[in-house]
């Protein structure tokens, strides 16, 4: 034990000499975890959808089909990569990267638990960069994804992807606004843009923000489902209508879009607990009191509770997909602009009122 601790303190001193190493290690771990989760959420969705539809889902590759994501990835990488003659080759190749990158960048500002305390008293935070304007950063970065879609649609040089990308673009614009407004209500409650502060505020208030911001939570859920391009708002890839922005893509480049979509699902369902469901707060327990006594146990449990909350959110999204039909393009925009936006605005006033008069 002592030798281990000695070894650790030498490593630590090296890392303190070069702080960038800490960040690189954290980024490596985070990206590894996120990739694994994204890979397995594809499998989880297919199997769960299967269960909802009273069939089994993919269970052939490996025990319970657990190696299926690997097989899928391998298949996508081995497939022929077609670049249409009509396309703009550079942008056509670049577009998947544009779509791929933003959701992963967004994970940087999450805080997954209370800090881990080493025996020598040094603390390590469960976040890459817990910046002041975390929520704003997330909103900014997630709007970037739209570039990928528009570029993909435009550069394919075909009518169908163009249609698809235009639809996606207007859909994303329409739902970005209510999404942001519903998040703002949470920020108002917490009084900070920093994600860890928002969780801390929920711990301090001893209730989660979905209680005062229930309308905001519903708006957030609906518009995030639309942001993720999922049923009932999955127009950009409604396979039975003509259209999707990735119609012309195949093989690896298509896989990029696919992964980006699921990364978005993971991203949104990890953001929701932090904002509305208390993040890494363990329900029915006074975390802060317990943290003084057993800091490491609480922080591990905090990660688990965070994971559980976001899993429940993701499961609900999958359940919704298993049940509902799809909205039409014009109806979808109408809901975004004419229904959700006023509700989100009204919610803002309600929350402001609660904050002003009920919580002194």
């Amino acid at each position: 034990m002592d030798t281990l601790l000695n070894l650790w303190s030498t490593i630590e001193s090296w890392m303190l000499a070069f702080p960038v190493v800490i960040y690189l290690v954290k980024i490596g771990i985070l990206l590894g975890c996120v990739f694994a989760v994204v890979a397995y959420i594809t499998l989880a969705e297919r199997r769960l959808l299967g269960f909802y539809q009273s069939r089994l889902g993919p269970n052939r590759v490996g025990p319970l089909g657990l190696i299926q994501p690997v097989a899928d990835g391998l298949k996508c990488f081995l497939k022929e990569d077609i670049v249409p003659l009509n396309s703009n080759p550079l942008l056509f190749r670049l577009a998947p990267v544009f779509a791929f990158f933003p959701p992963f960048a967004g994970f940087a500002v999450f805080t997954f638990a209370l800090p881990w305390v080493m025996p020598n008293g040094r603390t390590y935070h469960y976040s890459v960069a817990d910046v002041d304007l975390g929520v704003l950063f997330i909103m900014a970065i997630s709007s970037l994804g739209i570039f990928g879609l528009i570029l993909a649609g435009w550069s394919s040089g075909s009518k169908y992807p163009l249609f698809g990308s235009l639809r996606s673009a207007s859909q994303m614009l329409a739902y970005e606004v209510p999404l942001t407004l519903s998040v703002i209500s949470v920020v108002m409650m917490a009084g900070s843009f920093r994600l860890s502060d928002i969780v801390a505020a929920q711990q301090a208030y001893k209730f989660y923000f979905f209680i005062p911001c229930i309308i905001g939570f519903v708006v957030y859920f609906i518009s995030s489902v639309a942001e993720m391009n999922r049923t009932p708002f999955d127009l950009p890839e409604g396979e039975s209508e003509i259209i999707g922005f990735h119609t012309e893509y195949s093989g690896m480049r298509f896989a990029f879009f696919f992964v980006a979509e699921y990364a978005n699902v993971v991203f949104i369902s990890m953001l929701a607990p932090a904002l509305f469901l208390g993040g890494y707060d363990i329900p029915f327990v006074n975390d802060l009191a317990l943290y003084g006594a057993h800091p490491n146990i609480v922080s591990i449990l905090g990660v688990c509770s965070y994971a559980a909350k976001s899993t429940i959110f993701a499961l609900f999204v999958i359940w919704v997909r298993a049940t509902f039909p799809r909205y039409r393009y014009d109806q979808l925009l109408k809901i975004g602009w004419l229904v959700l936006l006023p509700i989100a605005l009204a919610n803002l006033f309600v929350v402001a009122g609660i904050k002003l008069f009920l919580l002194k």
Partner: protein
Amino acid sequence: MNAEKPSYMREVLETREMELNMGPQHPATHGVYRAILTLDGERIMKLNSVVGYLHRGIEKWAEYRTYQQGVPIYDRLDYLGAVLNNHGIVGAVEKLLQLEVPRKAEYQRVICDELQRLASHLMWFATHALDIGAMSVLFYGVREREPIMDLFEAHFGQRLLPNAYPIGGCRLDFPKGWTEACRKFLKALKPRIDDYETLLTGNRMWRQRTIGVGVISKEDAIAYGLSGPTLRGSGVCFDVRRSIPYSAYPEFDFEIPLGTNGDVFDRYLCRMKEMRQSIRIIEQALDGMPEGDLKGKAPKIMRAPMGEVYFTVEAAKGQLGYYIVSDGTDKPYRLHIKSPSFINLQGLNRMSEGALIADMVAIIGSIDIVLGEVDR
């Protein structure tokens, strides 16, 4: 760079109509059907249908085969309602040869016909819902169709294209235990249909997607020659089982569900109600199954006198007619098939005027075409 000015400088900003090909390989066209859409934004200005990708020349083929030999081939027209196709051709030849079919055989035919109608409607329901995005419903529909296929396999020996009836009667009695299995299935199906109605009928998304979409008025529907639930959704009471009675249908008590507005939702409701009526008919037929002979007195070599007959049945898609011209040999001189899907597809033009692209998918789903039957 370019000598020419860019387009926005050349002339005042203007919009143009765009032509878009939907199909032939497209999941929503239910086969190889191509629609050339002229679009103004997302709105359809004009629709030009191109069919014939699946043309197999069955009418020509029929002139080279005897009446009996033809029967299994007409299964392949509407492959989701094979038994009904069979009933049509068998009935037409019986009318031509003036054969009498034993009453028990007629009852058996009614039972199998209605089971097939159920299967076809379930498949329609599954794919139509998938077109509008309700994914699970596809699997539910196919799952419910499976026991029907099992019943067919147990009775006819084949699942999809059973070559169900010989000319003049039926081949075999139901196997032992079949009737009970059938009753059990029907009993279990009823609550299932209720479940699907909860899933879709009340669902606000489903209603918004279907109500007021693809409207065709009563007069137009008749003028365009639509038939089956597509016509009845517009409120026209024309069901061959009632209007031009054949087989044992006059003996059963059933209702003909009618729509009022003639939109996609009404057609959907009509078919859902029709499924319940089918269950009713089957139950009545199972209860009142008469005793007696199954095989009629059909000659081994069928030579019809010169003449012509037209016989129609109510297939799952609509009025299915066989027009046979005989020249005194054992082969039809000319055989024309009035396929309901072909005529119903023609009405798509009328229904999709001014609709959105996404509506188009819903409308194609609601008229329930099978391209094997459209192209023959």
